[in-house]
Symmetry: C2
Subunit: 379 residues, 2 copies
Amino acid sequence: MEEKIKKLWDETRELSLGTSPQIPRLETPPRALEFLRDYVSPNKPLIISSSAKCLFPATTLWSSPDYLVNTLSASPVSLHLTPSGNADSLTPISPHSLCFASPHVENLPFSEALSKIKNSALGENSVVAYAQQQNDCLRLEYSAIAADIEDHIGWATDALGCKPEAVNLWIGNEFSQTWFHKDHYENLYAVVTGEKHFLLLPPTDVHRMYIQDYPAAQYHYSKDTGEFKLELEDPIRYVPWCSVNPYPSPDTKKRDMARFPLYFKGPKPFECTVKAGEILYLPSMWFHHVRQTPDSRGLTVAVNYWYDMRFDLKYAYFNFLQSLACSRVDVKDKEYQCLKSCDASASKVENGLDVVHLASGYDSDVSDDVETHEHSVCP
Amino acid sequence: MEEKIKKLWDETRELSLGTSPQIPRLETPPRALEFLRDYVSPNKPLIISSSAKCLFPATTLWSSPDYLVNTLSASPVSLHLTPSGNADSLTPISPHSLCFASPHVENLPFSEALSKIKNSALGENSVVAYAQQQNDCLRLEYSAIAADIEDHIGWATDALGCKPEAVNLWIGNEFSQTWFHKDHYENLYAVVTGEKHFLLLPPTDVHRMYIQDYPAAQYHYSKDTGEFKLELEDPIRYVPWCSVNPYPSPDTKKRDMARFPLYFKGPKPFECTVKAGEILYLPSMWFHHVRQTPDSRGLTVAVNYWYDMRFDLKYAYFNFLQSLACSRVDVKDKEYQCLKSCDASASKVENGLDVVHLASGYDSDVSDDVETHEHSVCP
């Protein structure tokens, strides 16, 4: 099966996506018909370089030092706080285990939120703040500036046959990143200031993400102590999430490459930088990992338009592919087991932390106590 | 695997195609964008009821008793002759074996061709004639009447981004039918007079067609004896072809249902009748079986427009799906074996007829000499 799935990865690239990791670019926006035929229907990403018109005057106004603060003034906004800039991502919750960690969300006046974002940093007792409330927030919390940018992208709306379901604003700095995941939306991602750096994998490559169930946990931040506490949800709840960190630290790189060979040894992910004034069409179901570079003020500001996707043949094929076990891989770490494939299923295990331990096997200490065994890659 | 593939059949229907065997209809032609978004991109058939405009004046002229003969007069055309009306289909070549039989092709003046088509019949020493040269024949052999019908379908050309690669004319009567197969084209199938009856299966259902390699054979018709001779090509050449006859005779029905359970016990095929003045959008890669009912003159006349398909994600998914063995089915006929999955591959077998025998196991006599064994469904 592994060879057949690998052939699918290759064929998708050879026939349609291209074998270079670059994303095609158009200088000017496509006609709706062309966008639909050449990108949406074949589920193929695209960058439009000169999209400034539909992002105007946001591209000018939002870059000025005081405009956002003056206009939003005391508007209360949602700010996501984490100690390391990884919201909605896998995080160690004990020496032996990973969880799916959601950020602490604070509601505070925009001016305070913005200074917290600017002051984000890594280090001891650090706080990384990211305005990334994905609930149509541009038209809700940020309604005072919503008119600075088109409320939909004309050619995309015509092509997709509907207006966006949600329009979200993102304000962060270089310390915030978004872990590999996919969305069930057609996504038009417009960068207003700064730059966004995307790693992209097509849905055909689902097995390369090593999706597993992780227990959900929540960060709680205390202003008094300036410390974060990470707590598992009670009752325990599992979230299927991508296991691969594409930028492992030097300490974990070797282990990660051995654990996730389909990712690290497969075709290079597609890669692109989306600059201010550019729009990325990020097709539905594509896995994406996002980092950012701030502008001279220390901010990256972006708006994404989520359009409803069609749940059609491509989606059915994806579900079918995902239902297949890709390969039996030697894993030199008996702790690295997939909950979905082993008997110790969540419902049979009483102790939450034991489950966590089984689900992630994060602990590198156990690597000395190895036992080679076959492991069927999930899902 | 069988359960997962069956789930794919169901999910494709539930999400996109619908669970009834009917094909959706539009009263009037769609806009290009709508056609692309709602039918081509999701690979979904459609009938357009009032397409008369782009088929005019053919729908009027070609129905008149003498117009075709008068206009085409002595134009030489290609006529396909078979004893049973099954061109390009599986046919017994010996008591024990099936082959892929191509028709005898004769080049003769249109008036003679037309009277042979009208006189087609089944029975001893019968000849069934079908004008079905699929080489852009409307614009070649039938150029004298090509201007009676649009040379492309405007909204389809806009949607697909190109003009048709081929436009073919089909003239036959009720004795000609087309065996299940698929084309690597987007197909706009316009009926001008009479009716066409389609059975349709989506590409996801490829395993239900039991595609196997059959040896190619050719009909040779002798005017002197009025008899057909069916001869295997030399050197032997294999053609992968659908094994299922959806309309088995009462004699073979029970055996066929036991041999092809994925077809006969799976979801009903989609089914439609396309009437004069209607157009069927037959999406690329869909398996289709076609029969016809003639008009009052005893003729069915149709034109199909083949547009280039996109070899994109859907095609890659199809190839992947097709590469998987669906199931191990009990086959109570040890002669029913698939060449692709058994050791006796074509290259190892010297005697062509032995190969035929292995490939098809057509002989029903052996059913008394049964031995239940597991058989991996090809491809």
